[in-house]
Symmetry: C2
């Protein structure tokens, strides 16, 4: 006989499919919801159901936006400098950069990175629309903010090659020691990058 009733097992299975959620966590979540008031399971169910139907992609930068809104708030804002475009891998990266409060330009979300192993080429990402955007003329600087990983670097390199002929400044986020980090625990590559990227101290 099965140990768990089917509805509980179904929920555990659905949770287990999420990234970073193993069998133990999935059961814990399911049993938590079973014990909780009716509301919390229903709220989660409603939020999930609304997720896809109520969201879409910005037609300019491909960030997540409300369904029916063709241009996102950032692309639609006159406060944001259209001459600077920051290229990121995922919508979550936009959230991270916005939280810093230090960027006043606009974004372009690639929705992935080049990865020959996984068969992801330039046409699988939002690269062509980026080129078109730059060709349109108002962009002066493209900041490549893909992750400092092998794929992120390769994607940045590819984008640089594509963008340079278009007479636009192409920059990449700085590498170095993380703020609050400890030199002793920095890995070799980070330390090398911090050394080679050292800057003049100005009082």
């Amino acid at each position: 006989m099965p140990i768990l009733p089917e509805p509980v097992q179904n929920l555990i299975t659905a949770f287990e499919r999420l990234p970073g959620i193993g069998p133990k966590t999935a059961s814990r979540l399911a049993f938590h919801l079973l014990r909780a008031t009716n509301d919390s399971a229903q709220q989660l169910a409603d939020a999930l159901a609304a997720l896809k139907s109520a969201t879409g992609l910005c037609q300019v930068c491909f960030n997540i936006t409300l369904a029916g809104q063709s241009v996102c708030d950032i692309c639609g804002s006159s406060q944001r400098d259209e001459a600077q475009v920051c290229v990121v891998e995922e919508p979550l990266d936009v959230v991270a950069l916005e939280r810093t409060g230090g960027f006043t330009g606009r974004y372009h979300v690639l929705h992935g990175v080049l990865s020959p192993i996984e068969g992801i080429g330039p046409d699988d990402l939002k690269i062509r629309p980026l080129i078109e955007r730059v060709k349109a003329g108002s962009v002066r600087e493209v900041i490549l903010a893909t992750n400092p990983s092998m794929e992120g670097d390769a994607t940045a390199l590819y984008l640089r090659q594509q963008l340079l002929p278009l007479n636009v400044r192409v920059t990449r986020l700085a590498r170095g020691l993380p703020v609050g980090g400890d030199l002793e625990y920095a890995d070799q590559n980070t330390l090398l990058r911090a050394l080679s990227g050292r800057q003049e101290m100005t009082n």
Copy 2:
């Protein structure tokens, strides 16, 4: 302007309410579902919606069962010894014990532990039905399998006092070194319990 569209923020908030899920994990899950095919978010939503409506509690042992099924599979099975009742805190504990395959009796789920600090007394748990079950006469042994924690021990002690007058054998799960564990890393209390509970070796 808000950084995230409302439907995405709603889902993140709903995930954050779950135990062990912080803001970072909640965003990661929400954006994973946003990127995934329509199915996985919908499957999770359906499983959540079905959870409460399709499940109920067994009227004998208070384990989770299918809605409309008044007695669970274990309590309804003639294969399971009704003379042995294993008392656990939560339905998940039944799953853990069933996985061992080493118990052929039945269960009783308390749905919590006594906790004066949180205001949980005997009447908030399924203690009275347990006493009634034992009074009915067919139970010979009650195995107290509440957690080896302060509250679990206190609850076991309370149950023992209530059960002893009923002329039933009351046992508690053994304490000692976990199998595969390392004596060097065992905490002091576990080691003390392992010492005081030492047993004769029989080849």
